[in-house]
């Protein structure tokens, strides 16, 4: 039994095309030219209960559209979608009670009132009994470190504080499936980490299924073991994040700080020199040889510091989009 099942999902939009300028506007009044945008074009995947899946793709790839179809906001053009056994776009109350949608760029909190008022409205909407409400609120307050934030006027909160309250409002009814669309957008690094940690905790505590989109690779790397990558409405990769990294980027980066600078040519035999910045040098090394190369470096040079890192995820994803995955992934249709 899967929590989310998507089979051959397609979502096309008709958009009006307007030539620029005044005459363009005038002409479009008379004759509207429409163009079909294939936001999602034949995507299939399944998500098991309790899984956290990272949804990646460049802007306009179809991530948000897919989330909206899954949460029942959009009608699919074709294909079959089941979430918790329901057909989302029927928007049955029993379905809506078990899901939630959090969008980093939109807020449901009432702007002029303290966040607690929105929570009380949601309590009434989801018909949460008093004692359960208090218990959940206590837990969320603890997990999100809400403190006294809930009783402050929403417009007086910082972006990060608002996002915390937003999450509390969205999770009050303890949904089984979470659709998170850019939940950390615009937040500073510490706040991002906190939101991330919260999502992980929530998932662990309630066994909730999480489908998450984010621009910040750190979010995805920290939370999701599995990623789904889509581009131009097509599924490009679906699988383990680690496997993806190994396939697309079969190397690691060793960065050493030397006691005295050396010429880059001396380092050539160790691997591909990415940057030689005086005493600080970065070398790209094949995965399997990393520890051996590191040992040799330590042996042959006076080294102050040495770190071994995974290549930045941004780079890997970039690589996927420029076609690097085609030979690497077994899942390409």
């Amino acid at each position: 039994m899967y929590h989310i099942e998507v089979r051959h999902l397609k979502k096309y939009y008709e958009v009006h095309h307007k030539a620029p300028g005044f005459w363009g506007s005038l002409r479009s009044l008379v004759r509207r030219e429409t163009r079909t945008v294939r936001a999602v074009d034949d995507i299939s995947f399944t998500v098991a209960p309790g899984e956290i899946v990272g949804f990646l793709g460049p802007n306009g790839a179809g991530k948000t559209t897919t989330l909206k179809v899954l949460s029942g906001l959009l009608y699919p053009t074709a294909g079959e979608v089941r979430v918790l056994g329901f057909t989302p776009h029927e928007r049955q109350p029993a379905f809506l009670r078990q899901i939630t949608l959090v969008m980093g760029q939109k807020q449901q909190l009432l702007w002029d009132l303290p966040a607690i008022e929105t929570l009380l409205i949601n309590k009434a909407i989801y018909e949460i009994p008093d004692d359960e409400f208090r218990r959940t609120l206590d837990e969320l307050t603890e997990l999100l470190e809400l403190g006294t934030l809930l009783t402050k006027q929403v417009r007086k909160l910082s972006l990060g504080e608002r996002m915390k309250c937003e999450l509390a409002a969205a999770l009050l009814h303890r949904p089984k499936v979470l659709f998170l669309d850019e939940p950390t957008i615009g937040l500073d690094v510490t706040m991002q980490a906190k939101v991330r940690q919260f999502i992980a905790e929530y998932n662990a505590r309630y066994g909730a299924t999480v489908l998450l989109t984010s621009h910040y690779m750190a979010d995805v790397a920290a939370l999701a073991k599995r990623v789904i990558i889509i581009d131009h409405g097509h599924l490009v990769y679906d699988g383990d994040l680690e496997t993806l990294v190994q396939q697309v980027a079969p190397y690691k980066v060793i960065t050493v700080t030397l006691r005295q600078s050396v010429s880059p040519s001396v380092l050539k035999p160790f691997g591909h020199v990415l940057a030689a910045n005086g005493v600080k040098v970065s070398i790209q090394v094949p995965r399997g040889t990393t520890s051996r190369v590191a040992a040799r470096l330590l042996q042959e040079f006076a080294v102050d510091d040495l770190t071994i890192e995974e290549p930045p995820l941004e780079e890997i994803i970039q690589h996927v989009f420029t076609g690097g995955i085609r030979e690497a992934s077994p899942d390409v249709a």
């Binding site: 906001l73 928007r91 809506l96 969008m103 939109k106 449901q108 009132l113 909407i125």
Partner: protein, 261 residues
Amino acid sequence: MRYVRLLWLFFKNSLLVEMEYRVNFALNTLLSVLWLGVRLAAVLAFFVHRPTIGGWTLPEALIVLGLFNVFSGIIDAVLRPNMDQIVEHIRKGTMDFILTKPVNSQFLASLRVFVVWNLADVVLGLGVIVYALGRLDFRPSSAQVAVFAALLVAGVVIVYAFWMLLVTLAFWFVRVSNITELFSTFFTAGRFPVTVYPDWVRWLLTFIVPVALLTTFPAASLLGRLTATYALLSLGMAAGLLVASAAFWNYAVRHYASASS
């Protein structure tokens, strides 16, 4: 029960928000009184040279005016502010939050905010009706009051449903204030008993833009002048329009593309 509780919460929240603008409250009430004065003057002007217009004496016509005031209060307190909200929700895409809640989305979207002070118009309007009945020295029977109350409720339903039919167009056009302005223009015709208008206007105001059902019909029922057929017409229209507005809303939601991302 859940809906009553929600309604109460929304009302309370709106009150909380407005408490912050107390000066606004004073100004609004003053404006309500001024507007009532203007409306009264307009009606009085018609009676300067004649004892009746369209078969209605001045105090009788005042009942119609009182009802007009009641409904303009409801429009300003409930319908207009919620329309603005709906347009905002569609423009910004926050309608998503309404549509993912397990309650009737039309209810949630259309009865969310109240400009409570504008309800002063409702109170003033009812005051005018009581005053007019006093001037007439007429005590309606309890049956007449009951029919009046039913028609008043029907009127509220009609104006809500009709307004929602217009506002739902926002799902396609986003900006709908021009359309509702058009309604307001027709609505002002409701200050007078419809019998003052030529036949075709009367027909228009009864069946197309049902303004007569809001003011003239309940007033006539209070005075014991409304036939059962017309009372039933009003109730039927209310039910029909409510069903139509719900159907249109659901149709619109299905076509909702939810703005931006």
